[in-house]
């Protein structure tokens, strides 16, 4: 099914039924996905999903009222146009019952675009063989997700942006008998048996380093290296209001002191939203295109907050193409000067952290977060890995680890794909370097 032509036809028919004072904004997420779940290198569950989420926002420009409804398309045109037409009438009635929106945002023509990546996805008939062959005798656990995704926003003012990609990811861990593990992922648009095998081979090599008896580490402050993956998990929590204009105004922004210039980070910290990565669409749910790059933190100083059109109207700010949640996409942190081959030497004696788990703010006002170490984490002495460590809890403020305690960032970065699959498959990735910090606070 050609989803682009299908949705264009469906929305055109709907728009023809609008009255002069009305607009519609349509958001579509379509995917046809295979989710293959594994445990102990055996097949646990397989799920095939065909879904087309159709979100309608109705705007009555005369009364400044709006109403919203989301439902699923069936793929049968006659059924779908009947359902959507029924929904349009329902939204008209619903809007009548609602008050005027005090921060009503009208629909606008934000232009058209269609970005399409055609990939080479693995055939159903070979994928399981290739996974189990690459995993070999290892205790392989995780999932493979593969299939096409299509997203678009179309409004009755002429906006029509679409993004289509064939993509897959293998998100997995390899475990040892002693419960120590390595986590890795293989993601892309063109499946390669050789790349999969190479990825698994690298993980198995690292796994051997975890065979040593793990060491209990006492609570305290340690010089610590975080891999790009672990650093990305720290950065990810900042999606919870870290750069949101509304959160700043509503007292929930953890970087309030930074954006009020009462605090600053090391000048080595520059963090941008950068769509040149090409991993997710630039358009938001209203069809606005975000700037190609937007610096959120520049050389340690708060530079821009993310502001949606609604927040701009409510708080008298300037909108910059942010989505409604004002959370960043395609985050890029500028690399530093620490070379891969010098990481252990510069770390000296301390902790090497590959992954983190279950992060949360322990004091949002102080930009302080807590979380756990997970998977391949090591105690390092005089630049040599000594032993894996048992899980440790940390509790530390960004103002310390990105501030006075920051030693350096690596001169290389990794693109970490979003493997979230709540409701539907996420599309995003962040490009993050590793980070070496002093006196990182481990508490339990």
């Amino acid at each position: 099914m050609q989803m682009k032509s299908y949705i264009d036809r469906l929305t055109n028919a709907l728009f023809n039924n609008l009255k002069n004072n009305e607009d519609l904004i349509i958001n579509l997420h379509f995917e046809e996905s295979d989710f293959l779940r594994f445990n102990k290198a055996r097949a646990r569950q397989t799920t095939h999903v065909w879904q087309a989420n159709f979100a309608m926002s109705y705007l009555n420009n005369s009364t400044q009222k709006n109403s919203r409804k989301r439902f699923l398309l069936t793929g049968d045109y006659e059924m779908d146009i009947a359902q959507a037409s029924l929904a349009l009438n329902y939204l008209r009635e619903m809007a009548q019952e609602l008050p005027a929106d005090p921060f009503f945002i009208s629909a606008e023509n934000f232009g058209t675009s269609f970005e399409k990546t055609t990939g080479q996805l693995p055939a159903s008939e070979i994928i399981l063989d290739e996974i189990f062959s690459a995993a070999g005798q290892a205790d392989f656990v995780g999932q493979v997700v593969t299939g096409p995704i299509f997203q678009s926003i179309i409004n009755s003012k002429g906006t029509n942006h679409a993004f289509a990609t064939d993509s897959f990811f293998v998100d997995y861990s390899l475990f040892l008998e002693n419960q120590k593990a390595v986590k890795n992922s293989y993601a892309g648009t063109c499946w390669s048996k050789n790349d999969l095998q190479q990825n698994l081979h690298e993980s198995k090599t690292l796994l051997k380093k975890l065979e040593i008896i793990p060491r209990d580490i006492k609570r305290g402050k340690y010089r610590t290296y975080f891999t790009p993956s672990a650093h990305e998990e720290m950065t990810g929590i900042l999606g919870w209001g870290g750069f949101s204009g509304a959160s700043f105004k509503e007292g929930q922004c953890p970087f309030r002191a930074l954006y009020e210039n009462q605090e600053s980070f090391s000048s080595k910290i520059t963090l941008k939203q950068d769509f040149s990565l090409g991993v997710c669409p630039r358009f938001n749910a209203e069809g606005e295109l975000a700037p190609q790059t937007l610096a959120l933190i520049e050389e340690g100083r708060g530079k821009n907050l993310l502001v949606s059109r609604r927040s701009a109207k409510e708080f008298n700010l300037i909108a910059n193409g942010a989505n409604g949640g004002e959370s960043p996409c395609s985050v890029v942190i500028s690399p530093g000067k620490l070379k891969r081959e010098n990481i252990l030497k510069e770390l000296g004696t301390g902790l090497y952290i590959s992954n983190l788990h279950y992060l949360n703010f322990s004091d949002r006002q102080a930009a302080r977060i807590t979380g756990m170490t997970r998977y391949a984490c090591f105690y390092v002495e005089n630049g040599e890995i000594v032993a894996p460590i048992n899980d440790l809890r940390f509790d530390e403020s960004f103002y310390n680890c990105w501030g006075k305690n920051l030693i350096d960032l690596t001169d290389f970065s990794e693109i970490i794909p979003n493997v979230s699959t709540y409701f539907s498959r996420g599309i995003n990735a962040n490009k993050i370097p590793g980070i070496l910090v002093d006196d990182f606070n481990f508490t339990l």
Partner: protein
């Protein structure tokens, strides 16, 4: 106003058509139709903010071939659509069967016949946006009672689930659940520092009757006063003292440090790549003293009004109340029929899917901490040096569910058996089994509240599901507590 919704399909007729079309190419077929109709209505700072509806309805086809179960979800409810989904499921069951983790049989899909309707007085068909918004706008206005309150909201969510399951071994059961929840919040700010108080009202099975204006207005006054009070409060001390957690914190403590580690699929390793493993081993059942003798934890799917009450789980197992921890001893796992067959330990009927497009996995349902015999006043009086913590605001625990840290919005010190000073930014940390073994007193029925969470995350693909917890206040000895600051 009349809703725009799907006509539920005739599943029995569809199943017959599919059986005719696919013949004997698989051992068993199940069809699950699920419709989730969610209304979200929000007022902010005394003004209307948002209204939206979401209707997610589709069919999950399940097939069993050579001991492997495969799933295929489609929103195309036509006969042709269901047949395509069935063929896809059969294809994947056949491809995966040579690599199956266990040889499942129809025993894991027992025949179930029945109809559960959750208790409620007013259904979604009686919803008036105008009436609800009047209540929410007034409430959020009341929350914003002072200039220092810079933000307030009154957020309501009403969710109706209808599920119908039929199978080739005779299952034919329906579940209709209506959930109502309202979240009231106020944030106060002074000199660049903000403090937030939240009250979640009615996280339970109920209808629109939960939208009580006078009750909300009364709660709003307390919530905003407490947010203002916190602006002048000292930071929580950093030391070791007795901890009295109120139900809106007990709920998260129970959920994270007892609920998750008892999930059988975690113990079997299914979740190791995402949600995590468990410190509990299969050999611990019947042997591990998980808590003090006062700790009694049950699986309570029949508790009236609790968030996750039902008659059958999504695999067709009949849901009954069972003790998971009895007098502190671990006796039973949170695992459905598939996990029980794999692990050979006793479990419960907890095999649940979050949405129409996700396969069922082991989920919590209602995990309840049974009431004790102490009043709140008795617990305070019995404490020389302690702290009362209310309303979770931060939660974190390791992937084996041992080392946890929680933060709350509001706390009060207890000194020599009396409540004294209010403190801000309260946090505590500990290790699950020693923590529960330090359980000193358990609140009686007067302290019990039915709460839960809407979005417990787990599974690959990911699933966020509602789970219920009916819990009392609990007093724990010698807990490490601390405050905020960088």
């Amino acid at each position: 106003m009349p809703s725009h919704r799907h006509q539920a399909p005739n599943l029995k007729s569809m199943l017959k058509q599919i059986q005719t079309a696919v013949g004997h190419s698989c051992e068993w077929i199940g069809l699950r139709y699920t419709s989730d109709d969610t209304r979200t209505i929000v007022a902010k700072n005394g003004k209307y903010d948002y209204s939206g509806e979401m209707l997610l309805a589709g069919i999950m086809v399940e097939v069993m071939f050579d001991g492997q179960i495969a799933y295929s979800a489609t929103a195309d409810l036509s006969s042709a659509g269901i047949l395509r989904a069935t063929e896809s499921a059969i294809k994947w069951a056949k491809l995966a069967a040579p690599f199956r983790i266990f040889n499942f049989t129809v025993e894991q899909r027992p025949k179930a016949v029945g109809h559960y309707i959750s208790p409620h007085l007013k259904g979604l068909d009686k919803l008036s946006y105008k009436e609800i918004l009047d209540t929410l706008i007034q409430t959020s206005e009341r929350l914003k009672c002072a200039d220092e309150i810079i933000y307030s909201h009154a957020y309501s969510q009403l969710a109706q689930r209808q599920m119908h399951f039929v199978s080739t071994n005779g299952s034919d059961f329906q579940t209709e659940i209506l959930i109502g929840m309202t979240d009231l919040q106020a944030t106060a700010m002074r000199a660049g520092e903000s403090q937030t108080r939240t009250h979640i009202d009615g996280l339970k099975q109920q209808g629109l009757e939960s939208m009580e204006r006078e009750k909300f207005l009364h709660i709003a006054e307390r919530v905003s006063c407490e947010a203002l009070e916190l602006l002048s409060a000292p930071n929580c001390p950093s030391d070791t003292r007795d901890l009295l957690i109120m139900p809106d914190q007990t709920v998260l403590q129970l959920h994270e440090s007892i609920g998750h580690p008892l999930e059988l699929d975690r113990i079997l390793g299914d979740e190791r790549n995402y949600a995590g493993h468990s410190h509990v081993k299969l050999s611990d059942f019947g042997k591990l003293q998980y808590g003090s003798k006062l700790l009694n934890v049950t699986y309570g799917p029949t508790h009236p009004n609790a968030l996750a009450s039902f008659q059958f789980d999504d695999g067709g197992a009949e849901a009954t109340k069972e003790y998971l921890i009895k007098d502190g001893l671990l006796v039973r796992a949170i695992g459905g029929a598939e996990s029980q067959a794999r692990a050979k330990v006793p479990g419960v009927a907890c095999f649940r899917s979050s949405l129409w497009n996700r396969a069922p996995i082991d989920r919590m349902g209602n995990i309840n901490l049974e009431a004790g015999d102490s009043s709140l006043a008795e617990m305070v009086k019995a404490t020389q040096k302690g702290i009362i913590m209310r309303t979770n605001r931060s939660w974190s625990i390791d992937d084996y569910r041992r080392k946890f840290q929680f933060g709350c919005e509001y706390a009060q010190l207890i000194e020599d058996g009396r409540i004294t000073t209010t403190v801000k930014n309260p946090n505590y940390r500990g290790i699950s089994v020693p923590f529960w073994n330090s359980l000193k007193m358990v609140g009686n029925q007067s302290t019990v509240e039915a709460l839960g969470t809407f979005g417990c995350g787990k599974g690959e693909p990911n699933q966020g599901i509602y789970v219920g917890h009916v819990v009392p206040a609990c007093l724990l000895e010698n807990v490490e507590v601390f405050g905020g600051g960088k």
